[in-house]
């Protein structure tokens, strides 16, 4: 009985390798020619605490995880009790036969138990208890009907060079032993099998943060100064690791204020510079963002959202920073906001942000979140479109242009577009100063003169209008004319896309999706797109419906219905469908 997709979950204590093994397995599945999507769920602690890692795999493109599981690899008893409810009937639990499980409860749920001598295999065959994970993955491979070779190749990659051939060899043995035992005992009893895909092209497995970082690198980013903060750190750490190879200067600073201002300094003299942070870190960067706005310094800032306020839920996900980011810092200045929805859009945002920052000489903020930051997605080569990457530095005057300058260089020349041709410090013909006070075209302090202010402030603000013209989206997915239009932004793309698919499968023409990635300046195409919609259901991960409010203030269009989630978990297709059904009943869903 083949299925379109199969979801399994690894679950156990932090420190048991749930995440690293899950990620390795996801890679094996990708190498097997399958598309996967993962969702990890871990606590803000280093050891102990319950972690889980979900992998959904299919021969077709997978955009998000679902709420149900077919297979659970339980590394401790808590894993069973916590996740039993997620298993579909006939789903199965793989676990060490020495572990106690509530058999009656499991049976009542129609779920099968697949006990195996995982620990024994790990110890006897592999020589180390740590390899229990490997054993479980070998067993899972067998019951899902997959070839072991892909798991083996990942084991070789992971241990082959790093920890020596001996460890790799032992793991391979354990995997095979478990694969065989599980295959014999349970393969027939597990109703779902993953297809064997022949001749699949090479595909890639990465999360949103890696994609942003890679896009940034491709777009010429060569400077990152940051301060660690979950879930943004991995952008910084990825660029740091690649740094030596590509000439990226990477600097951990004493705090977020130093991180962003150091990036401003680097950008001021001409490097493509960025920082990445989350929540409290962004709050600390507010003043500096205003400086970049006033000083017209290009700057890319990634904000990976997590549930607030304050420290909140550090390892969870949320979309609660939208209106903060739209309005942050005292006074007014142009900023651009991009909220990519999947790996491809993250990659694009990575390099687009630098082009936009240079072009408009102002901060560009990429809004991602804990879910998008850490979920692995299998993508095709075309979803990492290196060929489309451009480097556009906007109106940057190079040495030759400056050599020919005839009049005195005016750094803040008043132009119709609001963009003033920029020279980098270092050329004898363009010696200038930039004050954070209001200033003249030449950069002299002028915090007094009303007439000058009436020139410079609108000049800066006009950049926002100029930029508006190139803001993309929203993108319509699904039938042009549908009964309801789901409206979303950022990382909910996959969930809403699939929810629409399911709805239209049930009854064609039910729903479509209007998804926003470019949020500020608000894309001009929004009004027209909205005009063609009927019932508008805004879906987002915050309490107050921030996007719905932004939509109202920018277009005058109020949402007919609002579906929110703010418990730190990502919205899934199932959550949307259930909320649409329960409509007025469920707390997360308000008629507005």
């Amino acid at each position: 009985m083949p299925v379109q997709d199969l979801s399994l979950k690894l679950a156990g204590e932090a420190g048991q390798g749930v995440e690293s093994n899950g990620a390795g397995f996801a890679r094996a599945l990708t190498r097997a020619g399958l598309y996967v999507y993962t969702a990890s769920d871990y606590m803000s602690r280093i050891r102990g605490g319950h972690n889980s890692y979900l992998i959904r795999a299919s021969a077709e493109k997978v955009r998000v995880h679902r709420d149900h599981l077919h297979l659970l690899l339980a590394f401790n008893p808590q894993a069973v009790t916590t996740h039993l409810g997620e298993l579909v009937p006939e789903g199965a639990i793989i676990y060490d036969e020495g572990m106690k499980v509530p058999e009656a409860q499991v049976a009542a749920a129609g779920v099968q138990l697949f006990p195996l001598p995982l620990r024994e295999l790990a110890e006897k065959v592999g020589g180390s208890r740590i390899m229990v994970n490997t054993a479980a993955l070998g067993a899972a491979t067998a019951v899902m009907g997959l070839d072991l070779s892909h798991v083996e190749s990942v084991i070789l990659d992971n241990f082959g060079s790093k920890k020596g051939a001996a460890v790799a060899e032992a793991n391979l043995k354990v995997a095979r032993a478990a694969y065989e035992t599980a295959g014999e005992r349970y393969a027939d009893r597990f109703p779902w099998k993953l297809p064997k895909v022949a001749n699949a092209p090479r595909r890639y497995l990465l999360n949103g943060n890696q994609a942003i970082a890679m896009g940034a690198l491709a777009g010429g980013c060569r400077f990152i100064s940051a301060y660690p903060m979950t879930p943004a750190s991995s952008i910084f750490e990825w660029l740091t690791a690649q740094g030596p190879k590509y000439g990226v200067v990477s600097k951990q600073m004493e705090d977020e204020i130093a991180a962003i201002t150091m990036a401003i300094g680097a950008s001021y003299v001409g490097a493509r510079a960025m920082t990445a942070t989350s929540g409290g870190g962004l709050s600390l960067m507010v003043e500096a963002l205003g400086l970049a706005g006033m000083a017209e310094v290009p700057l890319v800032v990634v904000n990976a959202m997590r549930p607030g306020p304050s420290t909140g839920m550090p390892t969870r996900t949320d979309q609660g920073d939208l209106l903060f980011v739209t309005h942050l810092a005292h006074g007014e200045f142009p900023r651009l906001i991009l909220a990519p929805g999947n790996v491809r859009q993250c990659f694009e945002a990575g390099y687009r942000a630098f082009n936009l920052a240079d072009k408009y000489q102002t901060p560009v903020i990429i809004l991602t979140d804990g879910f998008l930051a850490s979920s692995l997605e299998t993508v095709d080569l075309e979803d990492l479109p290196f060929d489309e990457v451009t480097i556009d530095r906007g109106e940057l005057l190079d040495g030759a242009a400056l050599d020919q300058l005839e009049e005195r260089y005016a750094r803040f020349r008043v132009t119709e577009s609001g963009i003033s041709p920029r020279a980098l410090p270092g050329h004898p013909k363009a010696v200038y100063t930039t004050p954070s006070d209001e200033h003249t075209e030449y950069g002299a302090f002028e915090s007094e003169d009303a007439a000058n202010r009436l020139q410079q402030h609108p000049k800066r603000m006009r950049k926002l209008e100029t930029a508006r013209a190139e803001m993309q989206g929203p993108t319509l997915y699904g039938p042009a004319d549908a009964e309801i239009t789901l409206v979303g932004w950022g990382s909910t793309l996959g969930a809403l896309f699939e929810a629409v698919e399911i709805l239209n499968e049930e009854r064609p023409g039910t729903a479509n999706l209007l998804h926003f990635t470019d949020l500020w300046p608000f894309p001009p195409a929004a009004e027209e797109a909205l005009a063609r919609t009927r019932r508008l259901v805004v879906v987002e991960e915050n309490y107050t419906g921030q996007f719905a409010r932004l939509l109202a203030s920018e277009t005058g269009r109020k949402a007919d219905h609002l579906i929110t989630r703010f418990d730190g978990r990502a919205i899934t297709p199932d959550y949307v469908l259930q909320n649409l059904k329960e409509a007025a009943v469920h707390a997360g869903s308000q008629a507005v």
Binding site: T30, R31, R202, Y204, L205, L206, M214, L217, A218, G220, C221, F223, S225, Q242, G243, P244, K245, Y246, G247, V248, V249, K251, M253, E254, I257, A258, T261, M262, A263, I264, G265, A266, S267, Y268, V269, G270, A271, R272, A273, A288, L291, A295, L384, F386, I391, D398, L424, P425, G426, P428, A430, V431, Y432, T433, T434, P435, S436, G443, A444, F445
Partner: protein, 289 residues
């Protein structure tokens, strides 16, 4: 020696007549001329305060930033373009008050920038509140009963944190100050020049007379600036006699940038950004397959 007129800005200083900042401005111009650094070869990064207006009053690249944040911006500029001379100019409130954390960490990081602190021991621009370097007992609008904290000793702090060049000047002796600033610019690494600067409006304690009666030049003594114990002792001398000059200098310490592999061929701002090569793309993709 370049012509001092090179550095003349078209903007007239708005400092109060008699303000010590004039002497500092002159000393800086003097040092640049002496070292033959052209206006386009140097970048001044200042904070916010009376003294931080300095970049407006000198013909050179300048960036007047945020209160307290000159140091990380200066460090970022230097790492991105090590070819520029980068000079951070801050007030005492700016540099040791709100900017204290950046000060702490800039010292031990040892990026090759110069940090000139216009230390008037008061908040000038905001009209006379006490500052971190105000003496205990200093009366101001926010300390009507007198400042209670022990004053920050910037020299001792720099020494305690591994500073490699620690000096003090006096704005009332711009020639001597220029000499110190020139040495600071030439020092490879973070160089602190704390400048005693009378604020003629809000600081009635630390006046020109106060200093003129007390300062003495370390070069005229047998002070050995390479000796950490002597430096520690001189850093604490404050009373009848106040030392000016180079308190401490440690040579042979590599700068931060010298220890970063990717900076060995210059900084990222010195070459235009480029697209990745085919091979680079393939290397990145291979890691993800």
């Amino acid at each position: 020696m370049l012509d001092l007129k090179l550095y003349k800005s078209e903007n007239r200083p708005t400092w109060c007549p008699g303000c010590g900042d004039f002497g500092i401005l002159n000393a800086i111009k003097q040092a640049l001329a002496q070292l033959e650094i052209w206006p386009h070869e140097v970048l001044f990064v200042s904070g916010i305060g009376c003294g931080s207006k300095l970049p407006d009053y000198i013909n050179a690249n300048g960036f007047t930033t945020l209160h307290g944040r000159a140091l990380p911006i200066a460090q970022g500029a230097k790492l991105a373009n090590p070819g520029l001379h980068v000079i951070a100019v801050t007030g005492d409130g700016d540099g040791y008050g709100i900017g204290g954390n950046h000060f702490l960490h800039a010292i031990r990081r040892n990026i090759n920038i110069t940090h000139i602190v216009e230390n008037n021991m008061v908040y000038g621009l905001t009209k006379g509140q006490y500052s971190p370097t105000s003496a205990k007992g200093f009366i101001s609008s926010t300390t009507p009963e007198g400042a209670i904290e022990r004053a920050v000793n910037p020299l001792a702090l720099a020494l305690a944190n591994g500073g490699t060049f620690v000096a003090r000047g006096f704005s009332g002796d711009p020639k001597h100050l220029a000499e110190i600033i020139a040495q600071a610019i030439q020092h490879p690494g973070y160089a602190l020049v704390d400048v005693l600067q009378p604020c003629v409006i809000y600081n009635r304690v630390n006046t020109y007379e106060f200093y003129e009666q007390r300062v003495y030049k370390l070069e005229e003594t047998d002070h050995d600036p390479t000796n950490p114990e002597q430096a520690w002792e001189r850093a604490h001398e404050w009373g009848e006699r106040i030392p000016i000059g180079v308190i401490y200098r440690e040579t042979g310490v590599p700068t931060y940038e010298e220890q970063v592999s990717v900076l060995q061929g210059g900084g990222p701002a010195q070459t235009p950004p480029r697209l990745l090569t085919e091979a680079e793309r393939e290397a990145l993709l291979a890691e993800l397959a």
